[in-house]
């Protein structure tokens, strides 16, 4: 017994920043960004904190599911760009939504939404009385970027995505992998002002090695998807959609090349939002559902990868 998804929602702040806009901030251009990562524009918060964007996606998912916040049994949230370390993002959301249930945050960077689903499945198994769990990925990536670094500031965007899960049997299988280390992707924490600490600290912005990240991501996607298919005696023909983490369109395209499948199988919306880290999978899932191309009973695969290094994929029956 696990869950099925009964509602989804997303939110992005109104401010749109195009590649041309970025060319006035750092030395870059639309052609370079489009070719390298497949992004045309992204949304950036001007006034909203991460939790406020998360609450809007969460409320949209609750409305979509026809569920009231007070009827939730648990809120699970993920972020790498929350405005506070404590209270956790999940506690901030509980407050803003007017919920009264327990709430917990989890960090698995860009793969976190998948880890939220896995954790939700575990909670449904542990607490037989739980009926509904809210899962939310929300990010203000613009807050943790070095806006003088053209290799990272053009890639990310702000946004939030959420899903309401109800006890059911739609979560069929999952595969989780962690290769711990900070040499490929790192987001250092806030630098304190301790008069006693005399070791050099990194700047609190995203640090990422592009080629290593690319190779890791493609390998993660292809291995995880192949594992799920083989373990469940399925072929790609049985899968209606793959919803990958929207990190880089070329990662997705090259993973398709490696898997020997058409890119039509992948739902991609990165051109509009950039990489929104933990929010990218629920945002893509929501847009896929809203497009009318996702039907009840469809088997889908969600897959994500990111800092940790953490990657995960899951097989769902929608």
């Amino acid at each position: 017994m696990s869950f099925r998804i009964i509602g989804t929602g997303m939110y992005v702040p109104p401010k749109v920043v195009t590649n041309d806009d970025l060319s006035h901030i750092v030395e870059t251009n639309d052609e370079w960004i489009t070719k390298r990562v497949g992004i045309k524009e992204r949304h950036v918060s001007e006034t909203e904190f991460t939790s406020e964007m998360g609450a809007k996606a969460a409320q949209a998912a609750l409305d979509d599911a026809g569920v009231k916040a007070e009827d939730l049994d648990l809120i699970l949230a993920a972020t790498v760009s929350g405005e506070t370390v404590s209270p956790s993002m999940a506690c901030m959301l509980q407050n803003q939504l007017g919920a009264t249930c327990p709430a917990m945050e989890l960090n698995a960077a860009c793969a976190a939404f998948l880890y939220l689903l896995e954790t939700a499945a575990a909670y449904f198994a542990l607490h037989k009385e739980y009926k509904r769990i809210l899962v939310v990925g929300c990010e203000r990536m613009s807050a943790i970027l070095d806006w003088t670094d053209r290799s990272t500031c053009v890639i990310f965007g702000d946004g939030s995505g959420a899903a309401v899960l109800e006890r059911g049997d739609g979560y069929l299988d999952s595969v989780c992998t962690v290769k711990g280390g900070d040499d490929v992707i790192k987001i250092p924490h806030f630098v304190g002002t301790s008069p006693f600490f005399n070791r050099e600290q990194d700047t609190p912005y995203i640090h990422m090695k592009g080629q290593e990240t690319f190779k890791y991501a493609v390998t993660a996607i292809t291995n995880d998807i192949q594992t799920l298919l083989e373990r469940n005696h399925l072929t790609m023909d049985d899968i209606a959609w793959i919803v990958p983490h929207q990190a880089n369109a070329r990662i997705i395209d090259f993973a398709c090349h490696k898997l020997g499948i058409s890119t039509d199988k992948m739902f991609v919306n990165i051109e509009k939002y950039g990489n929104t880290s933990s929010a990218s999978v629920p945002m893509a899932l929501h847009e896929l559902k809203e497009s009318g191309q996702l039907r009840r009973g469809d088997k889908i695969i969600l897959c994500a990868f990111g800092g940790g290094l953490s990657n995960m994929a899951c097989l769902l029956e929608y």
């Binding site: 390298r36 080629q211 290593e212 690319f214 190779k215 090259f254 490696k258």
Partner: protein, 75 residues
């Protein structure tokens, strides 16, 4: 064999005639960027059952052929 395969891959990826690519050809002259290199090296890994990560020093076809041949001979 390694040389022919690499030239074939480059010709296809950059829409260039294979006859125009030789051991002295620089990747930058073909418009090959670092992600193109990563993609090609991942294909080479599968093709020759090796593990290989490109480095900035490998900037010509000849240097790439030499590096891959060394790994295949080691295997």
């Amino acid at each position: 064999m390694v040389k022919e395969k690499i030239i074939e891959m480059l010709a296809e990826a950059t829409d260039t005639e294979a006859s125009e690519i030789n051991m002295n050809t620089k990747f930058s002259d073909l418009g090959v960027d670092s992600l193109d290199m990563t993609e090609m090296c991942m294909d080479l890994e599968d093709e020759f059952s090796i593990e290989f990560t490109p480095s900035p020093e490998i900037d010509t076809v000849g240097k790439l052929v030499e590096a891959v041949e060394k790994l295949t001979n080691e295997g």
